[in-house]
């Protein structure tokens, strides 16, 4: 008698093989593929494999870090994230990880500012300006989210930066000279003045502000025609791209404006750690960054406490209290000042006078973009020791 043959259910078998196949394949690939310490596309450091210890287990850091490690090094991580972005945008979602996806650019979703915190920054600037007998200028630059606000998704919440800048300027004391660059940025909005994939302004945007500020700060800006524009960074993808990994926006081009035959920079001194001697460079342009993802760092490098630029010019000395918007702005000023010192308040935890001799400067410029000024808590340190 023939044994009754057990019927194999093919779909069930496929389900099992597909399910376990995906799990095992990805798990093995994650283990065997080479690991990166720095996730360049996302602009962040990857979690390291944690060390096993009783303490790490009991306070759960061991488990949390293991989970982050698996996620950061998961095989095809970038592809998985991109797939999700593509899926969501094709279903009509215009927002991802705090970034709005507009037709031809990415802009930041900026929440309403906490005015009680902003007031502290304003008070510190006022105190600082009154405590030093040197002309103080403040320039708060609107970001692309404001200049292209009309392109945001309908009803999308976004803080009104124009109103915010006016609020700050109204509340700064009379000893602070305010420089309003909103009009010049807005009237040139059809020009390439902000990066499409990054939170910075372009060199052109910085030039426009530089030209507009000349009158108040007392210099004659160099006419645009005199510059040779070098497309130094091609296919630049910035921080907004890193947060969305959205490929639907054209990559950026980063320009360097050269001025031949005029005053040249003699020395760029970069202090990355207090107590150490500054590193000396010959140029304001750190070309090694042009081949990396973070191309904007080609302007005076990454954020450090103090950068000092000396030029052949015999003009005055300028102190800039700044965020990274100043990095592509400062080169223009080398035509008018002999010495420009850029200070990043995030790294200064004492009275500014203890770090540099403020009284040795002829002018002080406080330069921030509106988004970073809204959330900044380090400017208030300007009030220390005043």
């Amino acid at each position: 008698m023939l044994k009754k043959k057990k019927r194999l259910n093919l779909p069930n078998l496929i389900t099992c093989i597909a399910f376990f196949g995906i799990l095992i394949f990805m798990a093995v690939m994650t283990i065997v593929l080479p690991k990166q310490d720095f996730l360049e596309m996302e602009n962040k450091y990857a979690e390291k494999l944690p060390k096993f210890s009783a303490k790490a287990v009991f306070n759960r850091t061991y488990m949390n870090k293991t989970e982050n490690y698996i996620s950061d090094h998961f095989a095809g991580r970038i592809g998985w994230i991109k797939a999700r972005t593509v899926l969501e945008t094709s279903l009509g979602k215009r927002e991802r990880n705090g970034i709005y996806i507009l037709d031809d650019r990415l802009v930041e979703k900026i929440p309403e500012p906490d005015y009680s915190s902003v007031d502290k920054a304003i008070a510190a600037i006022n105190k600082f300006a009154e405590g030093n007998d040197i002309p103080v200028f403040t320039m708060i630059v609107p970001t692309s989210a404001e200049i292209y606000a009309d392109e945001l998704p309908e009803n999308a919440p976004s803080a009104d930066q124009k109103e915010f800048i006016n609020y700050v300027y109204r509340n700064l004391s009379r000893s602070v000279n305010t420089i309003d660059v909103y009009p010049v940025m807005f009237s040139n909005r059809d020009d390439y003045i902000y990066y499409r994939t990054d939170h910075h302004w372009t060199t052109k945007g910085a030039y426009l502000a530089y030209a507009a500020a000349g009158k108040k700060m007392g210099y004659d800006p160099v006419p645009l025609e005199l510059f040779d524009v070098e497309h130094a960074g091609i296919d630049f993808i910035g921080t907004f791209y890193s947060k969305t990994l959205y490929d639907g926006v054209e990559k950026d081009i980063m320009d360097i404006y050269h001025l031949n035959g005029e005053y040249q920079v003699t020395e760029v001194a970069v202090t990355s750690d207090f107590g150490k001697d500054p590193e000396i460079y010959e140029s304001m342009y750190f070309r090694e960054y042009l081949d990396k993802k973070d191309k904007y760092a080609a302007f005076l490098g990454t954020n450090v406490p103090i950068v000092e630029i000396k030029s052949e010019n015999s003009g005055g000395k300028l102190l800039i209290i700044k965020d990274s918007y100043a990095h592509c702005y400062a080169p223009f000023l080398t035509q008018h000042y002999s010495d420009i010192t850029l200070v990043d308040m995030r790294y200064i935890n004492m009275s500014l006078n203890k770090v540099i001799d403020v009284s040795g400067y002829d002018q002080i410029l406080i330069l921030y973009n509106a988004s970073s000024f809204m959330t900044d808590t380090d400017i208030r340190k300007l009030g220390y020791g005043q």
Partner: protein, 500 residues
């Protein structure tokens, strides 16, 4: 560990399952002549992996689970041994129940109790558990919480499960579990340990002894698990972001539409998250050869509040009915006693969900509504068109979620006012943006709350067998790929049951 994580999905799950599948239920190790040691291999694996799974999230409090298991196992053995001594049996039961309730009292309710006492009597007594935590930290530096007692994950689930064993054993509904491994594997069974369903010992007693695993069951489990994973990762997480945003807003400033969209988002989030977890648990159970009871049955289609609770977290309702309501006399001792029993059960059901007055009020809210339905309103509901009674029940549930998730009674009240326009406007730009940017996920959630997908599947299964057969693996692959892409970059993947 949670199911919706890459660590669980890609490492824990395949390793455990593959070892499990190839392991027999029991292995006999020969020890000399005619003697052999029988190791319940699969149960042992479940026990070990369950401990690992639990300790991954609670490396310290896993001791409490072990302690509770040990007491309940011993109580069971004692009851069995002194089968003809009713007094000893009763003592065993009391010890087990008191120990389980005691663990809940200490680890879940002590802060709540001391806060309440302190605010009523104006005292300033520190919770002794906190003092103990400080003392332990001083010696071992474990980093235990020193201002609030940290709730051990899943404590409300496993204590209730263990109690179902000792109580049923006392009532002679089940047989004793003589194997310590067998009993512990029931408690530490990883699919249901952190978020239910509350599987009573009776439900799985036979399967603990002997169970079969085959391709059919595994693929059925995979399908169920994938369904749950999709509910959690694709629906609940995506719609939950809306509620997280709205919940953090100032309720006196939000428009009515924003408040409604926010709480509707939570209404869907909690359902898809919780029923998603249950589906994943049931699916994983299937893969291991267990049949867990159903926990959700399209609750938002209910036509009365009583019906809602027969379709929402069914295993919890069953537990309270079996072990509280019926022992109290149920509905067989006259109207007054019935009402008392209902109020007790619902206050406790509320409190089970978290140690705060919001949950007590939330439970009583349902208790009172169910009483109202019982004394006559239910009859009226039955006569109404089903659309009306469904809408009524749905709105009741939505209001309930306000009590459930606004953290304090004051906030709940503010939120209710906002829902009726106290924030000033009916619909502001925030509401319009939430609506226009999330309309799709709302629509998907609404359809997924109905039986429409189930009916489609049933139709295909009957009429288009072949399409149905291959649609399952295709859907599983799609879900796995989609969920992975959402989990790799998961900025929002909450675990909602840390207060249960």
């Amino acid at each position: 560990m949670v199911f919706s994580s890459l660590t669980f999905l890609y490492y824990f799950l395949p390793i455990v399952l593959i070892v499990y599948i190839f392991l027999p239920n029991r292995i006999a190790v020969p020890l000399g002549k005619e003697k052999s040691l029988v190791i319940p291999a699969r149960n042992l694996l479940i026990l070990l992996t369950g401990f690992f799974f639990y300790a991954w999230g609670e490396p310290f409090y896993v001791v409490i689970m072990l302690f509770s298991t040990l007491i309940d196992y011993t109580a069971g053995r004692m009851m069995d041994k002194f089968d003809d001594r009713p007094k000893i049996r009763t003592i065993c039961l009391i010890v087990s129940v008191c120990m389980n309730i005691g663990l809940l009292a200490v680890f879940k309710y002590s802060d709540f109790i001391f806060d309440t006492v302190n605010s009523v009597f104006g005292t300033d007594i520190t919770n002794p558990v906190i003092l103990a935590n400080r003392a332990i930290n001083d010696i071992y530096n474990f980093g235990l919480s020193e201002d609030k007692v940290a709730l051990p994950i899943g404590i409300s689930f496993y204590t209730f499960q263990s109690m179902s064993y000792t109580i049923d054993l006392y009532l002679r509904k089940i047989k004793v579990q003589k194997s310590f491994i067998g009993f512990t594997s029931y408690v530490t069974l990883f699919p249901q340990i952190v978020a239910g369903p509350i599987v009573r010992y009776e439900d799985v007693a036979a399967e603990i002894e002997d169970r079969k695993v085959n391709i059919g069951k595994i693929s059925e489990g995979i399908a169920k698990f994938s369904k749950g994973l999709a509910k959690k990762v694709l629906l609940a997480n995506n719609i939950g972001i809306i509620w997280t945003e709205v919940k953090a807003m100032d309720y006196s400033q939000i428009s009515a539409a924003t408040a409604w969209l926010g709480i509707l988002a939570f209404t869907f989030q909690i359902y898809f998250d919780f029923s998603g977890y249950s589906d994943m648990a049931v699916g994983l159970g299937k893969m291991l050869g267990f049949n867990f009871p159903k926990n959700f049955d399209h609750p938002y289609l209910s036509k009365s509040v009583s019906e809602f609770w027969r379709r929402w977290h069914i295993t919890l309702g069953t537990w309270f009915r079996e072990y509280v309501y019926i022992p109290l006399g149920g509905n067989r001792r006259g109207m007054a006693k019935t009402l008392r029993n209902l109020l007790i059960v619902w206050a406790l059901t509320g409190l089970w969900h978290g140690a705060s007055w919001n949950f007590v009020v939330w439970g009583l809210y349902y208790g009172i509504l169910i009483i109202i339905e019982r004394v006559g309103f239910g009859k009226i509901l039955e006569k109404l068109p089903s659309a009306v009674s469904m809408l009524y029940t749905f709105l009741i549930t939505v209001f309930g979620w306000v009590l459930f998730d606004t953290d304090s009674m004051g906030k709940a009240w503010q939120f209710f006012k906002a829902m009726f326009g106290a924030g000033g406007s009916f619909a502001d730009s925030t509401a319009k943006y939430i609506f226009s940017s999330n309309i799709l996920i709302f629509i998907i959630c609404i359809f997924a709350s109905t039986t429409i997908f189930g009916k489609l599947a049933a139709f295909l299964r009957k009429k288009k067998r072949l399409i149905y057969a291959y649609a399952v693996p295709a859907a599983v692959v799609c879900v796995m790929l989609l969920c992975t892409s959402y989990l790799v970059d998961s900025s929002y993947n909450p675990f909602l049951y840390f207060r249960f």
